[in-house]
């Protein structure tokens, strides 16, 4: 009985999911590519992973325990990009600071929303000492989630228990949008990297499936996210993106606080960028990173930090290198 109820919910969800994909596809079949505005050395690569992707699934949408919260998060990322077409061309160093308001808000027992409003502060330094800065509101995202909680098999079917025992396993299905709340600047100057943007300027569809397991001592947190990228006003369309992450955590319960260290990996795969119906060479890429971090829960507060180091990467023909990233957050559990 319970299973069939769950099944119905899943089917409904899947139907809605497919309908959404079709809705997006339908508008993309007839893409109005006519103009776009951009200049970027070396390749016209606007690397989406740079300024604009901090709402990416590989960063996660919430806390380890998948609880509801409101909080703030700071993300530091550093990159190195080649500024020219030769192997000995100069490089530029980019550092991105992102300050996010993020939240996971309950609707009822099985539905919740996740919200993300970033403020971006992007810096780029050239070898000759020239520096650029861009800051402002980034691209916000909102996602609706359905959580499918699995329950332990009832051992005694004669007992009508109103309280079912949670097995600790759950699946989450999320659908949402990333909105162009960040400004996608037209080319500022010839030496400005358009990947150096606070926003992509596009409305993107976001689809996610997560799996969580949590017991008192141990947990797993897995998330796969797919981004269907729209085109922006400048008729530039970033490649679709697939992000994944898995973190294993353990919990040490103390009298007044909980410590949950975690270790895991995450990655992103980017399709090529499209412009005027043509894909651009060297605009795809992938990256796999290792993550280590910890959360500390003190009463209603969750303090978290993590450090991410790329294990392997090939981004944009090797012209962009992700160096590392670091995040810290404080959440207030709801």
């Amino acid at each position: 009985m319970k299973d069939s109820q769950n099944f119905n919910k899943i089917s409904l969800f899947v139907i809605a999911f497919i309908m959404n994909i079709h809705a997006i596809k339908a508008t993309e079949i007839d893409p109005p590519f006519d103009t776009y505005k951009h200049v970027f050395e070396p390749f016209g690569v606007t690397c989406d992973l740079c300024g604009c992707s901090t709402s990416s699934g590989s960063f996660g949408f919430g806390t380890l325990s998948n609880s509801n919260f409101v909080g703030i998060r700071y993300i530091y990322q550093s990159f190195e990009s080649k500024d020219g077409i030769f192997s000995n061309s100069p490089t530029t160093k980019e550092t991105f600071n992102t300050y996010q308001l993020w939240a996971q808000l309950p609707i009822n027992d099985v539905f919740y929303l996740s919200l993300n409003v970033p403020y971006q502060d992007l810096n780029r330094a050239y070898e000759n000492g020239y520096k650029e800065n861009l800051n402002g509101l980034g691209d916000s995202s909102i996602m609706g989630w359905y959580k499918l909680q699995f329950y332990k098999k009832e051992s005694d079917s004669l007992t009508f228990s109103t309280e079912r025992m949670a097995s600790g396993h759950s699946l989450q299905f999320g659908v949402g949008v990333k909105l162009p709340t960040g400004k996608f600047e037209e080319a500022l100057a010839d030496n400005v990297n358009p990947g150096f943007q606070v926003g992509t300027g596009s409305v993107d569809g976001v689809f996610a499936i997560g799996y969580n397991y949590g017991s008192n001592k141990f947990g797993v947190n897995t998330l796969m996210t797919y981004y269907l990228k729209g085109e922006n006003k400048n008729d530039y369309q970033f490649g679709n993106q697939f992000s994944y992450s898995t973190n294993f955590f353990t919990a040490f319960s103390k009298k007044n606080y909980n410590i949950m260290p975690f270790i895991g990996f995450s990655g992103d795969v980017y399709d090529k960028i499209t412009q005027y119906n043509e894909t651009l060479a060297d605009t795809d890429g992938k990256i796999l990173s290792g993550t280590i971090g910890s959360e500390v829960a003190i009463e209603k507060f969750i303090f978290g930090t993590n450090y991410t180091l790329p294990l392997s990467q090939n981004l944009f023909g090797g012209n962009v290198k992700s160096k590392n990233r670091f995040s810290i957050y404080v959440n207030f559990a709801l």
Binding site: K9, D34, V39, I85, P90, F111, N128, V203, A281
Partner: protein
């Protein structure tokens, strides 16, 4: 279940609303519209950026350093996706690409203005000066004659233009820091070394009134010496001036050094 339906319904409608886009004309009317295009010349040695004073090695094992690197580009033509050809106005259609004029990234810009708006797929240009332009006499050269003289790209009017100028030194098993001067050109009307090259763009270049697309052209200077023919400085290619044989070999090599690395549609 109601909430489920409402939530999904809401999300669905957000999607449909946000993903619908304005109607764009797929066929643009470009009649009478003009725009500009930048050709960025980027000199390299293989996959290395060219830098003055750096020691490079040719296939014969001889090493060389350059202190001058410049060449003439003329008769730039663009072919669009309909097969039409646009030719830049003849009088202005000659340029000197000089490494010394490169920006911080070592790129030399040639800006072409008032080009017919179109989606271009190929560029064709000549290296040097063709016989027709040369035959138009000193007056027919316009301001370019003075420019070329100032840049050291003329021998004399009778001999004509130097199409390229590579000055520096080379070392080999027998010579150390010997003079290296590659001054290839046509010799009056007796030797014609003018050659053209056509390069395809990896993406269409959209010239429009409100845009400034650019084409990044890589010039592999190593192929001047190791192109179709590999030459040896010691075997007569340290001083290339008006000799019919050696200038011809260099001219042929020179016509193959260019490739389009990428384009920007700005």
């Amino acid at each position: 279940m109601k909430i489920l339906k409402y939530t999904l319904g809401l999300l669905l409608s957000i999607f449909i609303a946000s993903c619908s886009s304005d109607d764009h004309d797929t066929m643009e009317d470009l009649t009478g519209q003009t725009g500009s295009l930048i050709l960025k010349f980027d000199n390299g040695i293989g996959n290395q950026d060219f830098i003055f004073g750096t020691t490079y090695t040719n296939f014969k094992g001889e090493t060389y350093q350059l202190e001058t690197l410049k060449y003439l580009i003329s008769n730039v033509r663009l072919t669009d996706n309909q097969g039409n050809t646009y030719t830049y106005p003849e009088e202005e259609n000659i340029f000197i690409v000089s490494e010394a004029n490169g920006n911080a990234a070592g790129e030399i810009y040639i800006t072409l203005n008032n080009i017919d708006a179109a989606n271009y797929t190929h560029v064709t240009f000549g290296i040097g000066v063709d016989q027709e332009r040369y035959a138009s006499g000193a007056d027919g050269q316009g301001d370019f004659l003075t420019t070329a003289q100032d840049e050291g790209m003329m021998w004399s009017w009778a001999t004509g233009y130097r199409f390229m100028r590579l000055d520096g030194t080379y070392s080999s098993p027998t010579k150390t820091n010997a003079a290296l001067n590659i001054h290839m050109g046509s010799v009056g009307t007796s030797v014609d070394n003018y050659k053209e090259t056509t390069l395809a763009f990896p993406n269409e270049v959209l010239v429009r009134e409100a845009k400034e697309p650019s084409v990044h052209i890589k010039a592999d200077i190593a192929q001047v010496f190791d192109g179709l023919t590999s030459v040896s400085f010691d075997a007569g290619y340290a001083q290339v001036h008006t000799d019919e044989i050696t200038t011809g070999v260099i001219a042929t090599n020179m016509s193959g050094i260019f490739s389009v690395h990428h384009v920007h549609n700005d």
